[in-house]
Symmetry: D2
Amino acid sequence: MKINTFGIIGGDKRQLYCARSIAQDGYGVLLYGFDEFEPGKEMAMVPNCDLRSAADADAVILPMPLSKDGKNLYAPYSSDNIQFGEVTALIGNKKPVFCGINGSLAPEKTAGLYLRRYSDCEDFAVANAVPTAEGAIEIAMKEYSGTINGSKCLVAGYGRCGKVLAAMLKGMYADVTVYARKSSDRAAANAVGMKTVSDLSEDNEYELIFNTVPAPVFSAQILAKIATDAIMIDLASLPGGVDDEAAKRLNIKVIHALSLPGKAAPKTAGIIIKNAVYHMLEDDE
Amino acid sequence: MKINTFGIIGGDKRQLYCARSIAQDGYGVLLYGFDEFEPGKEMAMVPNCDLRSAADADAVILPMPLSKDGKNLYAPYSSDNIQFGEVTALIGNKKPVFCGINGSLAPEKTAGLYLRRYSDCEDFAVANAVPTAEGAIEIAMKEYSGTINGSKCLVAGYGRCGKVLAAMLKGMYADVTVYARKSSDRAAANAVGMKTVSDLSEDNEYELIFNTVPAPVFSAQILAKIATDAIMIDLASLPGGVDDEAAKRLNIKVIHALSLPGKAAPKTAGIIIKNAVYHMLEDDE
Amino acid sequence: MKINTFGIIGGDKRQLYCARSIAQDGYGVLLYGFDEFEPGKEMAMVPNCDLRSAADADAVILPMPLSKDGKNLYAPYSSDNIQFGEVTALIGNKKPVFCGINGSLAPEKTAGLYLRRYSDCEDFAVANAVPTAEGAIEIAMKEYSGTINGSKCLVAGYGRCGKVLAAMLKGMYADVTVYARKSSDRAAANAVGMKTVSDLSEDNEYELIFNTVPAPVFSAQILAKIATDAIMIDLASLPGGVDDEAAKRLNIKVIHALSLPGKAAPKTAGIIIKNAVYHMLEDDE
Amino acid sequence: MKINTFGIIGGDKRQLYCARSIAQDGYGVLLYGFDEFEPGKEMAMVPNCDLRSAADADAVILPMPLSKDGKNLYAPYSSDNIQFGEVTALIGNKKPVFCGINGSLAPEKTAGLYLRRYSDCEDFAVANAVPTAEGAIEIAMKEYSGTINGSKCLVAGYGRCGKVLAAMLKGMYADVTVYARKSSDRAAANAVGMKTVSDLSEDNEYELIFNTVPAPVFSAQILAKIATDAIMIDLASLPGGVDDEAAKRLNIKVIHALSLPGKAAPKTAGIIIKNAVYHMLEDDE
């Protein structure tokens, strides 16, 4: 199927940047759900249209997350609610529809749509590691009264995000230690010059601790050993990997930093969405 | 002369971190001018005392800048004005006194004091390049809707600050170009993997432009060629290196980022002050 | 089972460094098969003994590769042949025996031994990526008349070795492009600042090409497009990934660089063997 | 003066690569003194001519060093001696002549020529730091039985060469310490993530030591403290910075690595010569 136009319905700044970037590639873009967005450079190339036109496009791009209340599309810049049922009725089941994870929307509501999740595209997760890592560094810079350059950092976890985060911190001349349980992860970290630890219970003082592990890694005991003067930035999805109660008791600042790509770098995040959409369309061919 | 106690009178957070770090080294620290600072971890080790005690210490550390109004010490956390004349009378002329640049204070006012400026210590300027560069990166992260990672950056000037800034941006995987007029500066930048340009009038689009050159480098003509979609961060002391009027006309955002060490990383800046003080005392021996 | 002594029988310099490092850890080491090695610092701590004593140790470390002729142990520094059958008879089947891949040794010959291959330890392959990558860089430095710094390099493949190789070349300020077919590999390379290509048939001139892909990637057509002035270093096991005939016709130098860890960095390779042995013993506990 | 042709008389491989690169820029190149060079890719574009033609070119490029015996041009690929007096008579005093340092040639012999030394061009020294540093790394790779990656390296001196060398070693994931006496040099090294020491007499074991300081830094006492298991690569011009007698006694391997650009990377070195020539010609305009 040849795609000439994309309908972009709802979502936040990421979708606007996605829209702009698709328009710059020469496609028609039909935008709905941004009437309250204060016009700026991001909007310049893509005017708003009505819902029916957007739903009529050759492919439709829905927000990320799809919904926050289980009833309406996530559309923080829309003056009206955009009911999910109304949108799906207009879209029909003959065209590719792209969206983020469902959030609280009941699965049966999306039945009938030819629906593709961004997260089904492996590149999407890999690419999002960059704005996630960089968003974490931005928070660290804001919160920490010293410089990252020369600071003693711990990165817990050496998956997609941990890898990029550790590499960028090292590139800023931080003194980085990677905590990973798998010895092959530690070997891979060593190979690119990282210090590693397999056990956090040894005394050691870090100034900045970044957690990417979705498991209770930072217990009260561990916190008392390595974090008494640290700022902790927890990137793992809730409840995260830190014993928040214990941290509070120990007067350790913990920041739960979630959904960083959209917050810290909506332009990059929008282009990553675009690339995922293009990639999935190519796979269809 | 053996120094056992340091008096720290006035100044901002940098002086507090300086005080804490000196105390951690085992010296006595007598602090005055911070009665309005909300107690936090920074204050924990160093209680306030009266002005006379602080002035009686073996060496005295005055703020940076020394004064903003030409009459009183710069002391944003003091509930009272600290008159410069009163302080100097108490200090006397027998002991080393350290301070930042004079600001608006008439030179004759400091006559008689055994006064040393931080900036007389070469390390001080070199070391301050780090919090300056990192402060500039923090601003870029905050203002730019994309990631530094992968962005197209121009660093104008390859002196102390330009060098560290370019290296850190590259370490974050930005695509960095260095502009320098001296060909030996460009050769030095090439040697550590930087792209370089000697002429900004060639068409080229940058996303982030950092200026460290205290000269009118970015004229209207240049801005129109390379900066129409850029954010500009000007680190050169006022009036900076950018034609602000032209930038406004072209709808280019320019941020004059000054005094970054104290704003972005007061802890690091405070330790740099401490090191300069120690270094100058050693040279006295 | 408590291990106090290690028997090391046959092998090349790697085994000597492995022996030395094990001895430095405080274990007894019984070495056989190095009587023709010219004594140097490597030998200082570990004297030769007879075969029976070495085979009597609590654990036995055999060479890598195990055998080259299918009959005798690989033992380039031994004045005598070390028959495999004789060794196994002395070792018996009650203790852990470590070795490299079998080479040409018939599998039934090793039956009865409690045999562990280094390659069964995942860390082993990850860690060996380092001396492999560095060995490839050493060859490039020797063969290429320019500097790696500033050279235009292509790294084909982004697996364990490709990752470390690309990162080290970039760290030396080469201009690195990664070729990878999987888009998620390219995304991972982009995330740490690499240029990437998914298709080699576009015109492009590289000065140094490193292949890690065990598949015929570099056909005559590709070579003619991108390699006419290049040096090619093929790290993929034979037959490698380059059309050697075509390369010859095009006057392109191709170096098949195999078994690099033992050649370029026997000390590092020996310690990697030691770590694999320790790791597998720990897993036994 | 408009330059259309360059005469290149004598010299080693660097001059050949210089010749080739100038020819690729579109100038006429007249080459003399390479009749014994085995034709290869380097020679392809630039055939030999007679001495008179080469001397008649608009500008003349003489070798580096100019002479080794004080009488003849340095011309290792020439079957005949090229007498300096004969060359200068043919060149005359009306055109720019470029050369390396004089070597043993008496200064009066060059009187009358419009002579320019490569080293008068500041870029030349800066740019040559790269092939020097990389040549040192190549030697280290060849001599050291471990990998640079992960090795404990000391770089003594933080001038042009020390800076690039330390940065490239760090980029290869070595554990680099910089020794510098000036505290501002140490501050500059710290700013880009280097460890530093101001005093070598403290116990510390390095695996690779690179000296760039032309002073007797490595005395017997120092060697005994930090180098007993090290390989030393001395880049300082003779007599270098190492007590060779003491090193011998201590069984420490010392390699005096001189003239590295021409040996390790003649192509790069040749292009650096070309750039210096171009640069000096531009300055003439």
